[in-house]
Amino acid sequence: MATFKVNGIEQDLDIEPQMPLLWALRDELGMTGTKFGCGIASCGACTVHVNGSAVRSCVTPVSAIEGQEITTIEGLAMVAAGANPSAPDLSAVQQAWIDHQVPQCGYCQSGMIMAVSSLLATNPNPSDVDIDKSITNVCRCGSYPRVRKAIHSLATA
């Protein structure tokens, strides 16, 4: 059995302890917002939050997150809103992604948004060097210039 919370909901899954969290989310829970890109923690498409910190779920066995709080792209806005019922449907990062028209194909953007949300939670005004060091996700459409602009817009907002 694997027991952990996803977007605030307790999940008890009869799965192998070695199963990566990515596949537990996608194939067991049917939550497909978290993407498979490389399977070796290189590209970041599978990034989720474990207790608020960005983690690459494709190499994170469910045994390593027993009892912990997982946030995925589907729950990001809800978690950001907390108990505030009048909070918007999107987190500030998600809204900035629309405002700056960041995604193209969009496949990497769940992971990108999760990684950026985690960065901004610990470093609300990151420098370009901070961004380069912490956002290492791959985007084949080359949305990087817009990702950078969107991050800076959030920092100075």
């Binding site: 192998e16 199963m19 990566p20 596949w23 996608r26 194939d27 067991e28 049917g30 939550m31 497909t32 917002g33 978290t34 993407k35 498979f36 890109g37 490389c38 399977g39 070796i40 290189s42 590209c43 498409a45 995925t72 792209i73 589907e74 990001l76 806005a77 449907d89 999107l90 998600q94 992604w97 629309i98 028209q101 960041v102 995604p103 193209q104 194909c105 969009g106 496949y107 990497c108 953007q109 769940s110 948004i113 961004i131 380069d132 060091k133 956002i135 290492t136 996700n137 791959v138 985007c139 084949r140 459409c141 080359g142 949305s143 990087y144 210039p145 817009r146 990702v147 950078r148």
Partner: protein
Amino acid sequence: MKISRRRFLLSSALVGGGILIGYSALKPSKHRRANAELVTGEERYVTSFIKIEPNNKITIYVPHSEMGQGVHTSLPMMAADELDAAWEDISVEQAPAIDMFANGDLVTGFAGEFGLPGFLTGIVNASAVTIAELVNLQTTGGSSSVRFTGESSMRTAGAAARQMLVQCAASRWGAAADECSTQLTYVQHNSSGRSLSYGELAADAALLEPPENVTLKDPSQFTIMGKAISRVDIPAKVDGSAEYGIDAQSEDMLYAAIRLAPVFGTKLISVDAGDALSRRGVKRIIELEDSVAVVADSYWRAKEALKLVKSEFEFSDADTTSSADLFAGFKQSLSEDDNSEAMEVGDTEAAMESASDVIEGNYTVPYLAHAAMEPMNCTVHIHDDIAEVWTSTQDALGIKSRVAKIAGLSEDDAIFHHSYLGGGFGRRLPFNWNVIDHATLIAMEFNVPVKTVMSREDDMQQDYYRPAVASNFKAAFDANGMVQAWHNRFTGPVQTPGASHIPYAISNQSIRYVDVDTHVPIAAWRSVDHSQQTFFTESFVDEIAHRAGKNPYQFRMEMLANHPRHRKVLEVAAEAAGYGQNLPEGHALGIAIQESFGSIVAEVAEVSLDENNRPVVHKVTCAIDCGWAVNPDTVEAQVESGIIYGLTAALYGEITIENGRVAQNNFPDYEMVRMADAPQIDVHIVESGEELGGLGEPSTPPLAAAVSNGLYILTGRRVRSLPLKNHEFSHSTPIAQV
């Protein structure tokens, strides 16, 4: 606007009122067979459909795939503008993958199959062309969607619908059509101020014959085109709800992990399943002609079990082949005088013989993988003598037909489910069938949906690659240092005729190629032959400029006297990049230009070396003449995208062959540009008002040459092969930036 093709306008009444109007431009095709022709041909023939309902809601069906290039927004913008609709009243749907959206032909049972109750009943069957001639007409490639579908189809459909609505309103008011005007989804009677919504008129309009000739707007009348409208697909891409092919799911779904023959073209001999079948969730081991697959109740279980399966593939002559062997073969082929003409002007041989000076450069580029972020995958469900398919594709109709054929069904018995594409770049074009065929064959063994997913390693090692090319250049100068002849011999095949041509005024040109055949499968890769040829030609032109003692920018301007559009984009890019002005210490500028897919792009790369003497690209300034911009923000995004894609190839991109197979596995050994490498990109749209050019590809070709031309100025080292990671640089012999 001139339309020389046969065309048909169709309209029909909707159940419950309203109108559906479509436009179809058809031409029997001679060039449907080859992948290369599909992506490089100059025309696409597809229909568009606009549905207007009594409540004034308008739906525009887009027949092209959305892979981030923004067609689900740009094409509806074109129809909506000609229709004079309010953008807020528009909703967008992907056109179903059925022949109707390729040829105006109705498929019986459409409504039941796609759950749109009867709204298509009664459409005229206007098709005079057989379905066989129309296969693949929903293809998205060749940077074609907006310039062909948009210009010839979407705008005309919008304008025709507007004209019919005006006619209905005028007749209700007993007025003449020219006393009426349209705006924001309403028709007004100018003198009386009366107005009717399109929704109120749609049912009547459906009874009219569509006009044979429609007048399109002058750009000064545009209300939607030319504006930076937000893309309709983006909201779903920030909250995880956007569905890609790989996201298909059902309760009873099974998953396949597959191992294809590591040496291309070889067959499976034997399989030792080991303990794989005893692993939890594993259903079957499937042996196919060239592969073995494990099917389980989760992808991870299938993938893990596949590791336990031993497989043997037949011996092949290619088993010992390496990249070095392939390039040696290219060199040998080029040295033999057995070539085909790409372009012959003047007498290059004579000019070479009488030259005062001849320079030579041998260039090569490697194979490249597409590496779309969404690994290749395909879900097939065969049940009740039909095949349902879910996959991310640039060619829905082609996939449908292929799956039906493999499954032994008729095309009408295949149902395609659309999704967004997690990148395409040419990998998801027709004829790159490997995952589609395998997924179908595997699914035929089950009566539930089976999702076959390539791992990133499979995706990288079982691609259809951007061809490796070798090229030999010579240039001849006369006694005055003027270039008199241009000689280019390169390895084919040619996928994009004209990509090797140069716009420069050189009176003697001999451009010829030799086809080489290897066991490595090849296909179109973003910008197709332009990606290799532009690196070659724009680097060698730079060599010529330096040899002639000219500033590379000024030299190009002089040699482009008869190409005002080229000169303009060069000038805009050079000026915006600060060409000729002081640069930061240790920085240099390189410039390159290429026309491809109807757009002309000049790029200036500002480069330096880091503390480890590795190249850094700080900024790319780009000027693009794509005729005019339907959606300027989408234009900029596509240009940025093509530059980053080109930069990854220039800095890192290299697929090598060792022992007949691809040596690279995953992103660590096929590295990507990431945030830290990504330059500042400054895009300038030059509106020439000429015909629309493509956008998905044209910014990729000049990038590698712009960067390496800058590195030459910085280091004195001329780069004649990519990627740059294989080269050593130092500041020892810089060239003065002029």
